[in-house]
């Protein structure tokens, strides 16, 4: 312990940037608010938009967690690139998979 404290002086240049406590509490409040909103909106009939709204709220909440709780706002730009490469591959999986099932009926031939 003592050894760490004596040595830490020369590394003070690399000391992490610390987000203020209020940021964390605000993000927490926003996340709770988002949860309440997503439940409330589920009971309103918006037709196809119900899904879109639910997902939009979820994505907003996720973005908050990633940026503030997971410190991506403070990281190098490489980290967002890593995240987006993963999401991009996931998108490819979804698009190509659903494109197959979505176009099966187009031919109009029974069993094809």
């Amino acid at each position: 312990m003592a050894q760490h404290e004596t040595a830490s002086a020369h590394d003070s240049a690399h000391a992490p940037h610390v987000m203020p406590l209020s940021t964390y509490v605000l993000v927490f409040a926003a996340l709770l608010l988002g949860t309440a909103a997503t439940v409330a909106v589920a009971y309103v009939d918006l037709g196809w938009a119900n899904n879109a709204v639910a997902l939009a709220i979820a994505i907003t909440k996720a973005t908050l967690v990633v940026l503030y709780f997971m410190h991506v706002k403070e990281n190098t730009r490489l980290i967002p690139a890593v995240i987006f490469s993963g999401l991009f591959m996931l998108l490819i999986l979804f698009v190509n998979l659903l494109a197959d099932y979505g176009t099966r009926g187009w031919l109009g031939v029974e069993g094809r």
């Binding site: 312990m1 760490h4 993000v27 996340l31 967690v65 709780f69 995240i83 998979l97 659903l98």
Partner: protein, 218 residues
Amino acid sequence: MAHDAHGPSDLAHHFDSYEQQKESATLGMWTFLVTEILFFGGLFAAYSLYRSLYPEAFRAASHSLDIRLGAFNTAVLIGSSLTMALAVRGGQTGKPKTTFTMLLGTLLLGSTFLAVKAVEYADKFTHHHVPGPSFHFEGPDAPHAQLFFSLYFGMTGLHALHMVIGAAILAFMLRPALRGAWTPRNHNFLEGFGLYWHFVDLVWIFLFPLLYLIGRHH
């Protein structure tokens, strides 16, 4: 632990600086989390496919889930994310007591989530909503409702497994936290675990509306 005879013990021998060590740890953890995105992604893809094919069955099956328990658990998990973030902040600012308290809080909230999940699972068993030979569902299109429950158990089960692993690691982190193992200069493990815990929270943020909130206005 391998360490250089000339340097302090918390800088591994093959790194030149704390900065390099920290950036490697952060990138490594995020790369791992990207594999987790795709790991869960396979199940999300199956979910999207089957829900688009059988919307009615999915809606009916989703209505059998208890929305209050789901919402409560979402709040619990968000709370545990807050305590986890504050535990990491305790490491950043060199306050072992804060880190310890917040990790303990995270562990308690995580356990609460798992306990509620266990209650929900037990309810599914008593109602024969568990896929398998004894599955029984009153409603339209029971075979595809069964598919919903397969995905429900697959996705929440995999999520719960991540929670259990996280809680086990948390339990082992309490003593080092109190000892002050994580300093402003090197709290890479604490930070990395925090990323894992937040990721598990992220998965639930999507699971909750997708599983519990389908077509509730009907």
